[in-house]
């Protein structure tokens, strides 16, 4: 009875075909994700490299979830960051209830997919994010990359993965230089070059780089500092003080607006 009253008071909505409604939501999500800066993840000899364009030093796109699992996100910062926290909480609770060995990327990726698919179908606004769940195996064949889209679809990749806008162009550039057995500097160089494209030179200060290293002990995740990244990049424009300054200004500006209420992206 209450619902009938509500409907009568509201103006009669136009009929929108379900196909159109879903398409509008997908277009909305895709458009806003493409406005953010992209990210690539690739396997290399010692594990998995994740390289993101991100000028902020404090608002991370790439993070540790568990011993051998990392998380990366592009799009709206507050949305992928709450997904990241949920992932850490889930993984830690699961490891506590069962064993550390029982925490795996596949089941976490499925949970993310279910949640994101549910939001896409049932909420007015879909999540404006794409995320990656990466797990480094004890042997190279065990490395896994799960790329999860805004509508909950999961892509399981075993070589590399590109998230965000211009994904196809970036994947093309990465593919041409790809080698599963390359060392870390070569992987960084190619990943950063693929992100930057032919017209720009990658600069360490604009990149957020982290690795899952097979031989790093229990916790495989490690962030690379600018010097390590800079050393791997072609030595045209090294990270001078000017570049560091601009990075600091950017992160300070972002700190005042961390949720990104207007801008969909952290970087």
């Amino acid at each position: 009875m209450g619902a009938l009253g509500e409907a009568a008071r509201m103006s009669m909505p136009f009929y929108v075909a379900p196909e159109q409604f879903m398409k509008d939501k997908a277009d909305f999500a895709r458009k806003n994700i493409a406005r953010g800066r992209p990210l690539v993840a690739t396997v290399y000899a010692e594990g998995i490299l994740i390289c993101a364009e991100n000028q902020s030093k404090s608002l991370h796109k790439v993070s540790e979830i568990y011993d051998r699992i990392a998380f990366a996100g592009v799009g709206r910062y507050n949305e992928f960051d709450s997904l990241r926290r949920a992932g850490v909480q889930h993984a830690d609770v699961k490891g506590y209830q069962f064993s550390r060995e029982d925490v795996d990327a596949r089941s976490l990726a499925n949970l993310y997919a279910q949640y994101m698919g549910n939001v896409f179908t049932h909420e007015m606004k879909p999540l404006e994010v794409e995320i990656l769940v990466a797990e480094v195996g004890t042997v190279p064949s065990g490395d896994q990359l799960f790329h999860i889209l805004y509508d909950g679809s999961v892509v399981d990749e075993d070589r590399y993965s590109v998230l965000g806008g211009e994904a196809e162009a970036i994947a093309g550039r990465l593919e041409s230089g790809f080698d599963a057995d390359w060392d870390l500097p070569a992987a960084i160089r190619t990943a950063a070059g693929a992100l930057a494209g032919p017209d720009r030179t990658p600069v360490a200060a604009d990149l957020e780089v982290a690795v899952l290293v097979r031989s790093n002990g229990r916790r495989a995740f490690r962030r690379l500092i600018d010097e390590e990244v800079g050393a791997a990049l072609p030595a045209t424009v090294a990270t001078d003080s000017g570049a560091t300054d601009s990075g600091a200004t950017d992160s300070a500006a972002l700190d005042t607006d961390p949720a990104g209420t207007t801008e969909p992206d952290a970087g």
Binding site: A86, H90, D92, V93, K94, Y96, L111
Partner: protein, 265 residues
């Protein structure tokens, strides 16, 4: 298991025990014992000690667990890394103590992952204090846990030691402390040998001597077991992090202690 998505106002923050409570796994939900119930015999851990030296802190613990007057376990680990720059040693009821260590380790790592930076050393000490206090209901039923916490304060560049009482009271020690049934004997030995400029080798030597004296006086404290090759746990915590001393090095220290003891007779 589902993905724990909390509404912003219900978000437990960086606390792992907070998350556990939200998902209905409160680790400290002790059931009150009926009036007049007698605590049953459980395994107990005994002597633990921490000594400050020039580079940081050395922590030691014997390996014996007792249940009443019998030896329940000969190679129990009582000194554990809490995270990269701190360690926790435990005395008291072994079951709740080991669970507390596990929760404490998870709490520190969970915070670090969620927040992106580790807790300060004092913050870690306070977290442990809250866990000991949460165990009060169990402590009142006889299952007391008394941890000893030590770490390297990377912000101040010094080693620091914190002791606890069963109510969660937290006290910072200046130079050294020992707890457990043989703690008093160990403390006396350390007090006589402690100097402000102890080297790593001297600090380990002193800690091992203290355990020897504790095992000499206290039946619940285990000494070095050369027959089975079981030696007390010795770990150092410095700017480089938590590191366990090799068993061979500990065994060698005991040879020195035994030689000195023999020479005095």
């Amino acid at each position: 298991m589902s993905l724990p998505m909390f509404r912003p106002q219900d978000e437990p923050g960086p606390s792992f025990t907070g998350v556990l409570r939200r998902v209905g796994l409160d680790p400290f939900s002790a059931v009150a014992a009926a009036a007049g119930a007698v605590p049953f015999e459980v395994r107990h851990g005994t002597t633990i000690a921490a000594i400050r030296y020039v580079d940081g802190v050395v922590m030691v613990g014997d390996r014996r667990a007792t249940a009443g007057s019998s030896i329940a376990h000969r190679h129990m680990e009582k000194v554990h890394p809490a995270d990269r720059h701190s360690g926790v040693a435990i005395a008291g009821a072994a079951g709740p103590a080991m669970e507390m260590v596990r929760l404490f380790q998870l709490q520190l790592e969970h915070y670090e992952k969620v927040e992106g930076s580790p807790i300060s050393l004092e913050g870690k000490a306070n977290q442990l204090s809250q866990m000991v206090r949460s165990n009060l209901a169990m402590a009142m039923q006889g299952f007391v846990v008394v941890p000893l916490f030590a770490g390297f304060d990377v912000r101040r560049g010094v080693g620091r030691i914190y002791t606890y009482d069963p109510t969660g009271g937290r006290y910072e020690e200046t130079d050294f402390h020992a707890d457990g049934s043989g703690g008093r004997d160990a403390r006396t030995t350390i007090k006589l040998g402690w100097r402000p400029d102890l080297s790593r080798a001297d600090a380990i030597g002193l800690a091992v001597r203290a355990l020897w004296q504790a095992a000499d006086e206290d039946s619940a404290t285990g000494g070095p077991d050369a027959v089975r090759g079981i030696y007390p746990t010795v770990a150092t915590i410095t700017a480089d992090g938590f590191a366990r001393a090799e068993e061979a090095e500990v065994a060698e220290r005991f040879v020195t202690v035994i030689a000195d003891e023999g020479a005095q007779r």
